[in-house]
């Protein structure tokens, strides 16, 4: 039982990171109908900025995070403006492939900047553990969960209560109608990319916290894609649920698979997200909370 609870806590912590990445993905998709494969590239680059501000310029960690998020958001806006804007109205597939190309470039630049060694983020949590009853939880995992709840809560409040959040929701429902109402749709696209890049940076910080940022975190970030698909590409609660499902599935696989399903081989946790995605899509072709596409003639 302790093992199960332990795996659950670990899973929720990783799931929170996936949820942040998936959320950025869904926000871009909802507002501009662009599938962005560039999230992992943005995350690596964002994590590097935080490393740069906190260890190279030796600023306070929190200031470094804020600066990193702002810089990433600016990069997100620049990308949207220079590469995605010319693609408005082109087939969704072309745009998705474009973001794959973009992701390759971003990832290589991020790798080059980070270099081969492990870069410390200078975060206050380190690798210390906290004991909660029988459970041993790393402080980093707790911080991840708390920060994700705060960030997601703030975002949802922004969408729900602010004027611009309303504009974004309107754009998500129908771009042309929104445009006709005087909503600056172009600005909505830019803000969506800024939010997504910021979320990716925060996710990168928590993936790298404690153990340090390496080039390898990018591989994990890709697993946020199945998370977004499991929840449904156009559903914000779906992104959160999907992220948690993937995180939990991975944690349980790490904990139990070697014992009960050993024939699946080592490191099956790297593939479990995709297996879960297969089964979810078989049952629900549009994800758990995704909107069913209406086919009209």
């Amino acid at each position: 039982m302790t093992e199960f609870l332990q795996a659950t806590v670990n899973g929720i912590a990783t799931g929170a990171i996936y949820a942040l990445l998936a959320l950025g993905f869904v926000i871009i998709y909802k507002s501009s109908e662009v599938l962005s494969f560039a999230q992992s590239g943005l995350m690596i680059l964002g994590a590097f900025w935080v490393v740069y501000f906190s260890t190279v310029l030796s600023l306070n960690f929190w200031i470094a995070v804020v600066l990193g998020v702002l810089l990433s958001a600016a990069i997100g806006v620049a990308i949207e403006r220079s590469m995605l804007r010319p693609m408005v109205g082109k087939p969704a597939f072309s745009v998705a492939i474009l973001t794959i190309g973009l992701n390759i470039s971003l990832t290589v630049i991020g790798f080059d900047l980070i270099g081969v060694e492990i870069r410390s983020l200078g975060d206050p949590w380190g690798i210390q553990m906290v004991e909660l009853g029988e459970l041993v939880v790393s402080r980093k995992d707790l911080a991840t969960i708390i920060a994700s709840v705060v960030v997601v809560g703030a975002l949802l409040a922004f969408f729900r209560y602010s004027r611009f959040g309303l504009a974004m929701r309107a754009t998500a429902i129908d771009q042309e109608t929104a445009l006709a109402q005087g909503i600056p749709v172009a600005k909505v696209f830019a803000v969506a990319w800024a939010i997504a890049a910021g979320l990716a940076t925060i996710a990168g910080v928590f993936l790298g916290a404690g153990t340090g940022v390496t080039a390898a975190i990018g591989v994990r970030a890709i697993r946020a894609l199945p998370a977004a698909v499991i929840g449904g590409l156009d559903s914000i609660p779906g992104a959160i649920v999907g992220g948690l499902i993937v995180g939990l599935a991975e944690a349980y696989t790490v904990a139990y698979q070697a014992e009960y399903l050993g024939f699946l081989g080592q490191n099956f946790s790297t593939a479990i997200a995709y297996v879960v995605m297969f089964f979810v899509l078989l049952v629900r072709p549009y994800g758990i909370f995704g909107t069913r596409e209406v086919v009209r003639v």
């Binding site: 010319p86 474009l98 290589v108 699946l264 490191n267 790297t270 593939a271 072709p285 549009y286």
Partner: protein, 370 residues
């Protein structure tokens, strides 16, 4: 009708593989030139050429499913891997620690295609349930699950970081990987690879060209342009998507088997998402829904490292050595690769083939601008 290539008087002529005599002559001349070139190319260039030709087979396969049938597949790397490992298992050295049956090429090459096609059939039912972008994700998942299988199935793949030797290219007792006599010329292994790959590309290319002008090919295009409309016209969506996936996987299997035989070594990490993206880039840069475009794209992408090497000599920021400089050659190659996809999608969606068409049309009417 001579001299009026735009005038078509019969439907058969419109659907012909080579509609005009000029095209037929040029095609024959070009093929002959490629064969003659084989005898003079250096081994290094010949091997690249052979890889390009094999990659072109794979690119044609991807173009059938993505360019013609409009089904986005990011899973091409998986099918290439299935082909490469089937070939390695059937054609590998028997008796070692790894699976190897020591069969000849005329068995393992079609078998690699068939096994990959079966893998395609298994995946297709999931794929036919989904549309558009969700399909992209399923095929993406396929790559990662495939990577896991290749990593863990030690007795087939040798495991991560170890790998295994590829199939032996022996055909009716004749070993392509050894220097041999051909029509009185001594050909190196690489030159023989190139000749063989060109032959396979010619056969597979013509078969694909024939497929896309058939009823099935027209059904593919109809599904791509509007699947609902296609269904109403009486096209069985599930059936044609299944055909598209199967044929595409068959091509990928053949390409994978050939490519890794030329390299001589199979490493399980090769079949990653990056490889799928490389093939997507080939058909996007070359030109979607075009056989010639697939070939152009495959050649361009395969020779890209050589182009970057050349650039490194003249552009000061790029360094040859892996450590020095602002960017290394390998990094420039990857960034360039990513940016090329972006630039082609924004500026020239028809790809290299589109550029070629534009040049051709310009000269057709020269000196008049239209």
């Amino acid at each position: 009708m001579r001299g009026r290539p735009g005038l078509v008087t019969a439907y058969e002529r419109d659907m012909a593989i080579f509609p005009t005599t000029t095209q037929r002559v040029w095609f024959a001349a070009f093929s002959l030139a490629m064969v003659l070139l084989t005898f003079v190319l250096s081994d290094d260039l010949a091997l690249r050429g052979a890889s390009a030709a094999a990659a072109a087979v794979g690119a044609i396969g991807l173009n059938l499913v993505t360019g013609w049938a409009g089904q986005i597949s990011l899973g091409h790397a998986f099918f290439l891997g299935v082909g490469a490992y089937t070939a390695a298992a059937l054609g590998g050295e028997p008796g070692g620690p790894l699976i190897g049956l020591g069969l000849e090429m005329w068995i393992w090459l079609p078998a690699a295609g068939l096994v990959a096609a079966v893998a395609g059939i298994i995946v297709a039912p999931i794929a036919t349930r989904l549309r558009g972008l969700y399909l992209a994700f399923v095929t993406l998942g396929l790559v990662f699950i495939g990577e896991h299988i290749f990593r863990e199935w030690d007795s087939l793949t040798g495991g991560i970081g170890v790998g295994r030797s590829a199939a032996k290219p022996v055909i009716f007792g004749y070993d392509l990987s050894r220097e041999g006599e051909f029509l009185g010329f001594t050909l190196s292994a690489e030159q023989q690879y190139l000749l063989f790959a060109l032959f396979v590309l010619l056969v597979m290319g013509l078969l694909a060209k024939n497929l896309v002008r058939s009823r099935i090919g027209r059904a593919f295009s109809a599904i791509r342009d509007r699947d609902v409309a296609a269904e109403i016209m009486g096209i069985n969506l599930a059936r044609h998507k299944l055909i598209a996936f199967t044929v595409s996987s068959f091509y990928a299997g053949i390409a994978g088997a050939l490519l890794w035989t030329f390299i001589g070594f199979v490493e399980p990490r090769s079949f990653s998402l990056t490889l799928s993206v490389v093939y997507i880039a080939m058909i996007l840069i070359g030109g979607a829904a075009s056989i010639m475009g697939s070939i152009m794209g495959a050649v361009f992408i395969t020779f890209l490292p050589r182009i970057v090497d050349l650039m490194a000599r003249y552009i000061p920021l790029i360094e040859d050595s892996p450590s020095g400089g602002f960017l290394t050659v390998a990094q420039v190659e990857q960034i360039l690769f990513g940016l090329l996809i972006v630039v082609f999608l924004i500026v020239e969606p028809l790809g290299l083939y589109g550029i070629w068409i534009r040049i051709r049309n310009y000269w057709k009417a020269w000196p008049f601008s239209y």
